[in-house]
Symmetry: C2
Subunit: 431 residues, 2 copies
Amino acid sequence: MYFHEAETLERGKLEELQVQRLKKTIEQAANSPYYSEVFKKNSIDPSVIKTADDITKLPFTTKDDLRSQYPYGLLTQPLDNFVRLHASSGTTGTPTAILYTQKDLDTWADLMARSMYSVGLRKSDIFQNMSGYGLFTGGLGIHYGAERLGCLTVPAGAGNTKRQIKLIRDFNVTGLHIIPSFALYFAAKVREEGFDPAEMPWKVALIGAEPHTEHTRRKIEELMHIKAYNSYGLSEMNGPGVAFECLEQNGMHVWEDSYIAEIINPETGEHVADGEVGELVMTTLTREGMPIIRYRTRDLTRFIPGECKCGRTSRRIDRIMGRADDMLILKGVNIYPMQIEKIIMGIPEVGQNYLIELIKEGLMDQIRVKVEIKEEYFIEDMRALQGIQKKIAGMLRDEILITPRVELVQHNSIPKSEGKAVRVVDLRDEE
Amino acid sequence: MYFHEAETLERGKLEELQVQRLKKTIEQAANSPYYSEVFKKNSIDPSVIKTADDITKLPFTTKDDLRSQYPYGLLTQPLDNFVRLHASSGTTGTPTAILYTQKDLDTWADLMARSMYSVGLRKSDIFQNMSGYGLFTGGLGIHYGAERLGCLTVPAGAGNTKRQIKLIRDFNVTGLHIIPSFALYFAAKVREEGFDPAEMPWKVALIGAEPHTEHTRRKIEELMHIKAYNSYGLSEMNGPGVAFECLEQNGMHVWEDSYIAEIINPETGEHVADGEVGELVMTTLTREGMPIIRYRTRDLTRFIPGECKCGRTSRRIDRIMGRADDMLILKGVNIYPMQIEKIIMGIPEVGQNYLIELIKEGLMDQIRVKVEIKEEYFIEDMRALQGIQKKIAGMLRDEILITPRVELVQHNSIPKSEGKAVRVVDLRDEE
Ligand SMILES: [Zn+2]
Ligand SMILES: [Zn+2]
């Protein structure tokens, strides 16, 4: 059961469509002050694109480019034709702004509706959007998608937990959009109000607004008694609805009829090998007002090799593993802290916290990972502890291709940092 | 220049249209559990409506009726057909909920677009919606209208004053939706940030979300250097866009092709004489999913007699003068505190505050109005003060048909209450 025929297009046909739309996108983009100049300088016109791989002939667009072109440099049409503006939240420095024509909003709503359909939501669902509205694309983006799908949409917004619970119960809400970090708090609140999450009417939660681990997803699913689906979006590519999990919960399908996704080595700009982690680069294929070409998202992920059981032919990306700016280069290998977190948090003996330290061993750089062990495992049996230590080191080596030092520490011995998930300390100048 | 032909329909034609749509509304409403029963009990079917006046044959619908029918009692269609829910904000007690089909949302967006057009906004305007989104209909209601009109719509939401100012300046925002009480604060903030409101790009503000006085409107216009327009709406009638001022700023045109407005004596339920203040009663004419018939809004206003210079033929209501629940009955006359406030706040010698006291004079009820006089007028010249006192008493008598006692008091001598605009103290049992 699919929402749109593009979801199951045979790969050859899909790439044909991409080529055709990429050519059109170049043609449209050439009407903007920014790309008109970039294309002139690089001798680019639609004819340079013959196959999907030819996208590498186009230059990247960075966040800084968007900033320097604020507010109108990327518009392909008179301002009069635009009906929506979303802007990044910065109050200092230059923000970025994305503008949409009515047609762009329609396309976006269709993509969002398709995304929600792919996780099992239907016209008959009652959908509560528990995300803040306003300039953040997550609010209105999901809202328009839910209405487009035909769900009874409850624009609850953020906050007011008691009222959220009341609405969910009164209207038998079956679908939620909820921020992952709020979901854990919310589950506790539901219990506090005297309700059993297992008896709440909900079935499906969209939790993609923040990068989170598989571990967090499973915890949300357990605590809320819900199926939680990850997704990927960013305002530069409209907002939510760029890539979405299907019922398989094994990677997020990029809607490749509307976006071209590439994964590059952030240092060299070259495509990485299939399945390797790198920086996600995205190109709009169906945005008329403000097309963006080869946008450097700074988000780290990888293509998941192979085909998805769901039957969709579009490629899947893995959950976001951090920011390209977080990348560590050690012994010539690119390492992303989220790779380490992912492994550590999947080990049952590990507690809440960990710390990544960059150290010197002689002249060589090395990684030391301090890992809190749950109280019940932190016993005097040295051999058992050594076993855990070895296991962690081995699993990390398989993931990051380097064998790190692993140090097991007691529960609560690592100082808790506020909010930030990735914790890296550079001690190379100190030791 | 009008947005829709219905705005200038000849009255006879307009009433024909109302009759036809009222019949259809009765027919649709009969599909809801609630009205099906009410109509059966009162032997009502579309044939009882022959002229527009026959609406008085239909029973009222009250807020309590909506509460008792929560959540689905007024729906004329399967829940599946609805795509939006707005609910009153109560967390305790039974809330009320309004549900919309896609067609209802379209109708609403059209009415909102028409409303914005009537105060001079056009497709070429840049419109910043500075209202909270979510379950409150003011946010999404105005948002959809602005997009429908084709404005570049900035969903700024509430709060974050600095960013609001930055967006307004960066994008040359020409139209605002801003809550009256926030507008006064915002004007000060703009100055604080070092900008002159007179040099801001804005031209038009919609300020209808809260009842406010003409004095407040003029103050907003002066401080912000903007034209500020009042409007009327309530979620039971979709939300904003029920009645809207035109450029004349002299009363709000009810969009009578979509709503029938009546003004009744809240005690008797009978229509008041033309121009007299009473409770506004509203009927939807173009809502298919959840029509509401003769809804007792509890809001007090009057029809403004005569024709509007703008050429629109629809009747105008005056700004909301309070709640029917605030009504005082004195010497057989209905008095609304807002009538008194309106007069007092229009007198230049009067300061910030006043108090209405109900007292006994012998066996008779009487009103005493305590009025703070600005410092510069509160001088020792008894004759000048008596002159002011007499003037106030005379103006009040003309408005409320009773001559009240007027007591002039010093600046800041009346204790300030938080937020609430209407202040009435009943001392009849004490004196
Ligand atoms: Zn799949
Ligand atoms: Zn007029």
